[in-house]
Symmetry: C2
Subunit: 506 residues, 2 copies
């Protein structure tokens, strides 16, 4: 069927492209702020960002955009092909999200977000949860009100989850997380009791930053990052940003004493970057090509970081280059001991530093707290105690301070409730995608061992990156793997891998 | 007198600040494009810049801005203090410039600017002036029409000059340039006939880029550049950009075979940067603090590059550090031979590479051609011949190709007629400012020899940087030096300096 040229559709597209261009500008100055901006420019930059945000808000809430959408809603749905229909659907969703919230609430959220972040930074530094508690209470109230505006039919916490993982709700997440708890807590406990720890001493030493940078850049490029349409730089926290699929910017940070952290951060961000660089050609400025959800994005970074780069064949391929890059202790290692050393499991306090086995429990703890805060079964003032007792229950350790406990993450300081589950959903997606890849491309492990990453990249691009927002995450996983999200594969993968590394009876 | 709070004035200020913030954003992505952007992002970036330019144009031509200005025009002029009156005056000038041109003409100019640049790049590469000639003709016609819109009472070329050097006209520039020709052409001829050339052989060698960069950064900081509110990076052409006086970004480029070019580019851009960093505190987002004209801006870069950094005391101070930074040939030099080597005079084809003695003749040639094109006494098709015969007459050399002649500059490819005179006006301003500084601070040369640049910086800041747009260039030079622009000082300076270097009888 030949799509009809519809003037409202064309006007919508023009408006969406302008918004995309302006968002690209915003993204560049956000990147600049983290990577390039001189410290003294912070105040001026905040005003510039605020002015541009005002312009973008004006555009995204333009009543004329609403008129176009209303007319298109009346039009015969057969008038549009799949991609056009998707652009209209996504534009409607974004327009609703941007216009259903009264301006007063938008401003209160923005004000609290900027004030709350500063209060959180200080509270964390001074280990004073009580100073942060009022911010958290106010955010909860505002985010409940916000949920009522945008998704009046949803449970308020589900509404918050929907922003990051659309179509997903507590009802879906809770049983998955219960299953993870039932399987992972005893496994971690067994590993702890096992006493045995792989030798990691050869990962200590001095690793010159320029060597780390060269190695990371090489590996990022090997696995497919296009440096003609991207950059790699240094920032305080690693991230993937950039203004457009042809301008994708990943960052990392370097410690002379540890090259693994930086290298795997680069691989993680490369995974995000490949998703962005791989967006649907010809539609890169339209919603249909955008990344689907936080969880799917995270599935791509974790796919490369965990499923590929922490695998034995990857170690086989890169072990020699890594040893050649760095003198010293590494000469004592073997491929096997290196593989084990980068896959140790050790419960610790900080989520972002956690290994893949303990990581889900950090996420589940936060999910359960958010649920409790939204349904009223927990109250903010009790959080430090709740946090610490859950840490004991799930990981067998108790944070000595709230700085290392309930105050560690920035998410709640910006009101980002419902974000955490995406991290672990991403890990589960990644594992399920990986299993399908192995069955469709049985040579994958051999290819990795030879450094042939192109077939993997093509597969991910065809199945996921280029699919944009055409399907819901639920539809996507069904289409790619032939079944719904299934945490069994993730659990099997973790059990098999860690029982082998820790030499446990199966 | 206590200024009255005027609501229209307050609204004007809010609107001007928003425009300033958005211009800061534009400036950052412009900088990013030159310094950071991956090559593959060019097309997306062009669209982003165009979208943001559209927004800024919407703001600068906002009818409500015009209403505020119209009301303020009616108000009692005693209601406003000097700074407020200046903001209103500047806002009115900018509003007129932005609104008096019909949209059709704005778009034609933009379209020709972008198309013309590409045609010029190719024509220059292929040495085919005939391919560029149609662009130049069209720009001339459009710029005459533009002049009629914005300054109907001015001669069209004067209108174009006014954009870069307001209040200055052919009537003022022509006699000054005639005087320069009368004095400099024979002087350069004498130097050419003299055969003697200072020894520059010790400036040849290999100068590691990281050493060049460290030295340039040190000197830039020594003379006052604040790296907490600025950066220094690499780009194809050196420039000074950045988003705000607290975010000033200079660039240079490095050649391993030549450290002088890069170092003096850094000093030049530092001069521009100090002007921007030194803008009136508390008013940095308002027109009153903006730099005055291109000529005054250039006076600040040339002040540091030529009047300070090419002087003997500066060589005295830095000679040892320079020798220490670079091994090899430099060890044969002395302070005196180094000073002479960086002040050689040699007629050549390219303006941007010219020394301070031949530079004005490159500018005068272009000024005379622009005058001729606007008054109809020259026609575009004859330019290569006109150019070459003027080069013979003024500098005694004839470009072997148009690439090295009439096609060398990008200015005309973007329709920037009237810009060139500012370069030489800047040199004359710089010299006159320098003379006043020496008389007000007689220890200046001693201070330079000791590396004490702060008194110079304070003087420039108080007299020029912090004065923003309060005065016209004509008023400013009168206030700072006690007399109008006087090219005698520039001529005296050049004659004295070069007669001494070339050991000519005076």
């Amino acid at each position: 069927m030949e799509p009809v040229i519809n003037n409202d559709y064309l006007e919508l597209i023009e408006k969406l492209k302008e918004i995309s261009h302006l968002n690209g500008v915003m993204s560049t100055i956000g990147w600049d702020q983290e990577v390039m901006m001189p410290t003294g420019a912070a105040e001026a930059r905040a005003k510039q960002i605020s002015a541009l945000a005002g312009v973008i808000h004006e555009r995204t809430t333009d009543p004329r955009l609403g008129d176009c959408l209303a007319t298109l809603k009346e039009a015969d749905s057969d008038s549009f092909d799949l991609l056009q229909a998707c652009n209209i659907r996504e534009a409607q969703r974004n327009f609703d999200l941007d216009t259903k919230v009264p301006k007063r609430l938008v401003m209160e959220l923005a004000e609290l977000g900027s004030r709350g972040h500063l209060i959180w930074v200080t509270a964390r530094k001074e280990n004073k949860f009580a100073n942060f508690a009022p911010v958290l209470k106010q955010f909860l109230a505002l985010k409940k009100e916000w949920a009522q505006c945008v998704f009046p039919d949803k449970n308020p916490y589900d509404a918050n989850i929907d922003i990051f993982e659309r179509g997903t709700s507590m009802a879906e997440i809770t049983p998955i997380f219960e299953q993870l708890k039932a399987e992972l807590i005893p496994l971690i406990q067994t590993i702890q009791d096992r006493q045995y720890q792989p030798d990691t001493s050869f990962l200590q030493g001095t690793f010159p930053v320029e060597k780390q940078e060269a190695l990371a850049r090489q590996i990022s490029q090997d696995i497919g990052f296009n440096f003609d349409q991207g950059r790699m730089d240094v920032s305080v926290h690693p991230f993937c940003g950039g203004s457009h699929p042809t301008d994708v910017r990943i960052t990392t940070r370097y410690k002379e004493s540890d090259f693994i952290e930086s290298l795997y951060a680069v691989i993680h961000e490369t995974g995000h970057g490949l998703y962005e660089q791989g967006r649907m050609p010809g539609y890169q400025e339209l919603p249909v090509s955008e990344s689907l959800t936080m969880g799917i994005h995270e599935s791509q970074s974790l796919f490369w970081e965990r499923m590929i780069a922490q695998s034995k064949p990857f170690c086989v391929h890169y072990f020699e280059s890594i040893c050649a890059a760095f003198q010293g202790n590494l000469q004592r290692a073997t491929v096997d001991s290196f593989y084990q050393a980068i896959n140790t499991c050790k419960p610790d306090f900080i989520r972002v530093e956690a290994d893949e086995l303990t990581y889900p429990l950090h996420v589940i703890l936060r999910f359960e707290i958010e649920k409790g805060l939204f349904d009223g079964s927990m109250c903010v003032d009790d959080l430090p105690e709740i946090w610490n007792s859950m840490m004991m229950k799930y990981l067998g350790i108790k944070p000595p301070t709230d700085t290392l406990g309930v105050l560690q993450d920035s998410h709640w300081a910006s009101g980002a409730f419902g974000y955490f589950p995406s991290y672990t959903l991403g890990a589960i997606y990644a594992c399920q995608f990986h299993r399908t890849l192995l069955s469709e491309q049985p040579d994958t492990e051999k290819n990795i061992a030879k450094g042939h990453f192109t077939p993997i990249n093509h597969w991910l691009n065809e199945k996921i990156h280029s699919q944009g927002t055409l399907y819901t995450p639920q539809e996507l996983i069904q289409r790619v793997t032939g079944e719904p999200l299934n945490p069994d594969y993730f659990i099997d993968y973790l059990k098999t891998k860690y029982k082998s590394i820790y030499q446990l009876d199966s």
